[in-house]
């Protein structure tokens, strides 16, 4: 059986989930580690939005709205951790 887009998305999500758990023990610098963790979360979220929620074919407005939610929440988390680390 040839894997289709849903199978590939699932495999990407599993790979990113494993990478996410490994980041804190591999990357010791908090700012970089946090950036990686949250970037992985953004990638996972984007795949879920496009392929599982099936917004790839939906109007750009809806795709953009859900993606913007994802980016805003993750960027806010990273910015707050960066401010605490720098002061």
């Amino acid at each position: 059986m040839i894997p289709d887009r849903l199978d590939i998305t699932w495999l990407v999500l599993i790979g990113l989930a494993l990478a996410t758990v490994l980041v804190p023990s591999i990357v010791t610098r908090p700012l970089l580690g946090n950036a990686l963790l949250l970037a992985f979360a953004a990638l996972k979220g984007r795949r879920i939005v496009l392929d599982f929620l099936d917004l790839r074919a939906a109007p750009a407005l809806w795709r953009g709205l859900v993606s913007a939610w994802l980016v805003i929440v993750l960027l806010f988390a990273w910015s707050a951790s960066a401010v605490v680390a720098l002061i």
């Binding site: 199978d7 999500l13 989930a17 804190p24 963790l37 996972k44 879920i48 599982f52 988390a77």
Partner: protein
């Protein structure tokens, strides 16, 4: 234009009709995303105000068990997406099978999360232990309730396994998946 004329032109949902499933489910999904977004924002601000308290609380969590739960939930998301594809192809029996798989994995997520809670409570951590644990239990507990509700919704749509119903039910399930993808690193891993 009268209300009757307006209704005859469509269902009255406007651009929400371009989304998969019932537009009312998307109203709920956008509301939930807004609520969880604010909740996570509050967690992030509280951590910035009390970094030592939050670091101490986070250090007692089992990130590997939560990571395992991420794999369980994304796999259930995959089975739910397969169910939608099967329902669209009019393979209702197949769609029902994939939905049962998603529900079983959802139940496994709940079991693992309860095991995690049991360990945390046994270590003396509860809702009132610290601001970290208050927000941790509320956020993850609220999410866990959504997993339970999602299982009920999937069970309801699996009965007829009609394409529109399956799309509606699985849209809620994928939202629950998306929320966990964001909750997991912010609560367990970000330092």
């Amino acid at each position: 234009m009268s209300a009757t004329d307006f209704e005859q032109q469509g269902t009255g949902w406007g651009i929400l009709e371009d989304l998969p499933g019932d537009p009312m489910m998307w109203v709920l999904i956008f509301s939930e995303l807004a609520a969880f977004g604010l909740f996570l924002g509050a967690f992030v601000i509280a951590r910035a105000l009390h970094p030592a308290v939050f670091a101490a609380g986070q250090a007692t969590l089992d990130a590997h068990l939560a990571g395992l739960n991420t794999i369980v939930l994304v796999t259930s998301g995959w089975t739910a997406a397969r169910a939608t594809a099967a329902a669209r192809a009019s393979a209702r029996g197949c769609a029902r099978g994939w939905l049962f798989g998603a529900m079983a994995l959802g139940a496994l997520f709940i079991a693992i999360k309860l095991l995690e809670y049991a360990g945390e409570i046994a270590s003396g951590n509860g809702l009132e232990t610290s601001p970290f644990f208050t927000l941790y239990f509320l956020l993850t507990g609220f999410h866990l309730l959504h997993v339970g509700l999602g299982i009920v919704i999937l069970a309801v749509v699996s009965r007829g396994a009609r394409p529109a119903s399956v799309e509606t039910g699985t849209a809620f399930w994928h939202m629950v998946d998306l929320l966990w993808i964001v909750i997991f690193p912010i609560l367990y891993l970000v330092r």
